[in-house]
Amino acid sequence: MFDLEKAIQEWLNQFKKHRAFDDGELREMDLHIRDHIDDLLAEGLSPEAAFKQAKDEFGEIKPLAIEEFSNHKRSTTILSLLKTSMYKNYIKTSVRRLLKHPLSTVINLLGLAIAIGVCVLVYSFGYWVDHVDQHHENKDNVFLTTAFINRNGETQQWGLSPRPLGEMLAQDFPQLRNVCRIQERNVVIKKEDLVFHEHLSFVDPSYLEVFTFPLKYGDKSLLNDPGNIILSRDMALKYFGNENPIGTDVLVIFDNGVKKSFTVAAVAEKFPEAIAIKFDFLVHYDNIETALDSYNAEDWSQSVKATLVSVDNLKTIEIVAESMDKYKDLQNRAMEDWQIESFRFEPLSTLYQNSSSINKTISSRYYDTNKMSHTILSILAVFMLALAAVNYINIAIAAAAKRLKEMALRKTIGASRSMIVSQHLAENLVTTGLSLLLGIVFGKFILVPWFESQNGYNSGFHFLDINLWFYLVGVMLFTALISGLYPALYIARFQAVNIFKGKVKFGRGSFITKVFLGFQLVLASILIVCAIMFTQNNSYLQNRSWGYEPDKILYARVDNYSMFERLKDKISQYANLKEITAGSDHIGIHYSTKVMHQQEKQYEMNVMAVKPNYLSTVGLEVIAGRDFIANSKADKNSLVVNQKFLEQMALTEALGQEYVMDSVNYTITGIVKDFHFHSFLSDIEPLVFIVGEEQDFRNIAFSVTKGTEMESYELLKNSWAELFPEIPFRGGLQSDVWGSYFSEISWHGQFWRIIAYLTIFMAALGLFGMISLNLSGRVREFSIKKILGANIQHIGITITGDYLWLFLIAIGISSPLSYYLVDFFFDLVYPYHISSNIMSLIISAFILVAVLWVVIAILLTQVHQRNPIHGLKEE
């Protein structure tokens, strides 16, 4: 007997072999064949004949499937996905859900937005670092001449080059497009009443060909005239405001006292934001002969700040590089202490990246530091994203409790597992999309400006940068996937039957949820410890001794000996003066490096040439041997060294050791305790004091009666103004010398505290979401407890108990982790720092537990205020 129903089913089953058909389409075919059969039956055919005819007319299934499948393939663009009604509905339901659960929405949105804000910051910082000095059009064809010098057994790269090198290169290699020398001097610039210390660059006229600095007023060629001066936009604003300064004269006072008037010939446009090589004032290189007494262009023992060459063909630079031995010999004959091993031409395009290892580079040496900061920030961003994603996961799983029946119903009416998963992911995309918007606003308008103003840079990154959007969309998809995939799979896993039967229960949170929460607490705890330790470290550094007594010292720096004498005479008359000293060098202001010989060995050494009473005046402690003696002829050959010197030279008995510097024999007569002559950001280096020639003294330091420091400071400024009305004051309180350094380290503390606040906030949000969902899943339980007489404290204890052990485990894991992590981090950043301590761990643990209590207290208040009857009715 023919079974029509069975035949239809078998026919339909053939469709299922092909993946082209979804449930709706199958149903459509099913209905089609039935309609057709009905009609044929009505025409009087037998069921078997009707089925056969309907089937034949329908045609073969395989070509149909191929055709249908090509439809699917055509449709896999995101836009077409969104167009299909399924996804439209998903988005609609997502938005409705978000509005229906404002609490979890806010938690998810805020958490993700904060994390994405940090990502924007990371991007903008990286953007800045990667764009430094990339605006020069010829950057691939311009090279800085650098030299390798062997010092104490290690090869160092230097950006300085011998003075005559540039001129000789230009003569010997006509195929070089340009050769450009740069020399810099500190000068005083005067325009009517405006007088400032400035940095003047002496450059060859090709400077504006080699570098790309567009001019706002004037023309590149004007640099050819030695009587012209070119200003940066900032300097034009400083001296002329918004006026056009072309044609105005400014007076330059060189540090040898010679004055020369220059005509402003051009003004540069605003420099790009990401920049390391820049200028304030440009004049023709030949002016160096005016600025330096007895200038000799042929002197190989002198150096210039930089010699750049540019080429039309990169082959040329290889040819030049091969012929550098000639100049090496010339240089090495003239400078015994400065033996060049080889020259290298560093391309301008990568100069900033390579400059971390180049001494005296015209670029900046901060690339490595910046790269490291970028890495740290990136790690931080990933941390924050992980925190936010974990928040999301926890809340999504907990929220799923309320949606189980919805899911079960969808499954029953034919939704496949993959459909439920994709619905969840679509919902996620909506949430992350919204957070993305919020995060961008937060990052661009709050976080980035704050970070940049604190660090004194401007990344100049903007929304038109296409990479930014790739990056952000990448971040968004990544977050949506990792935060959404697990909950989606988790929810889709359940059997509908079990849900309806009530076998699947939520409420107390599954094991995996707790693992996630624990992970989040660990992250939060580490960041809190970071913040605490950075704060502790700040106060440690602020109170750290400099190794001498900066608080009682004032100083002033002059340009030449006559200024020195006049100022010294004036200060000597101060009533509050205790001691006055001087030097060619001064702590924190200036020191020089010389080459020191002992038999065959040579060392590069930091040297300070001072007056014999310098050490006692500034409060340096002589721990062995003796201080210099005033007016002692013998002390012309004495050395006082610091402890670091002994360490580096591996000396057990230092006193009496003999060295040669500048062909003078010296003997160590004293040892001073180590002191910081750089900021605490650098290691203390070996240093020697020698007695300097009074003619060379440019620094005056003096101590005054305690309590009169400020008064004396005012007096000093007045004396200066009286003596040198044309030259701005340069000096102050010794304790202010490192003022900017302290603002830098206190900024580190501030930064980590803010990161920690954000983290605590995010962890609290997550906790809040978790516990409130947990509570809402247990409304009936608590209502019954309440009716039976349990008071709010009991309920509080029950909930605290649920979470406290989790906190304890998290703290147990994070404590050793953060202990070593922060130590490692400090070692990386600070040469001098506190070591990790238990106190910070305790504080961090306390903060975490306090957050738990606050969250529970807030939620319990809500439970307390509710009538238990409503609670019982609810489920």
Partner: protein, 109 residues
Amino acid sequence: MISKNLTAASTKPIILGILKQGNSYGYLIIKKVKELSGGNMKYSDGMLYPVLHRLEKEGLISSMWVMEKDSVRPRKYYEITELGKQALLKEQKEWSQVNDILHAIWNPA
């Protein structure tokens, strides 16, 4: 009998044309096509469905499941969209152009 290629090419305007006269579902559409062609167009019924689904994806028609009052079965009704109406106008224009050309060639004045 109309050739396979021509049949395939004309499916789109025919379906859009039928739907322009009123909403309909798969089986009914095919029935109508068969009626109109008087058996001159050889269709396998099934091949209509991929076309319908493609048109839906292109946004020319939309669909909706409907349970009619006196029916035992739900039906997936297709409706022509605004976009579909525009596409139909374009098809009409093109086909009449072809028709004009053929006409001009075969019936020289």
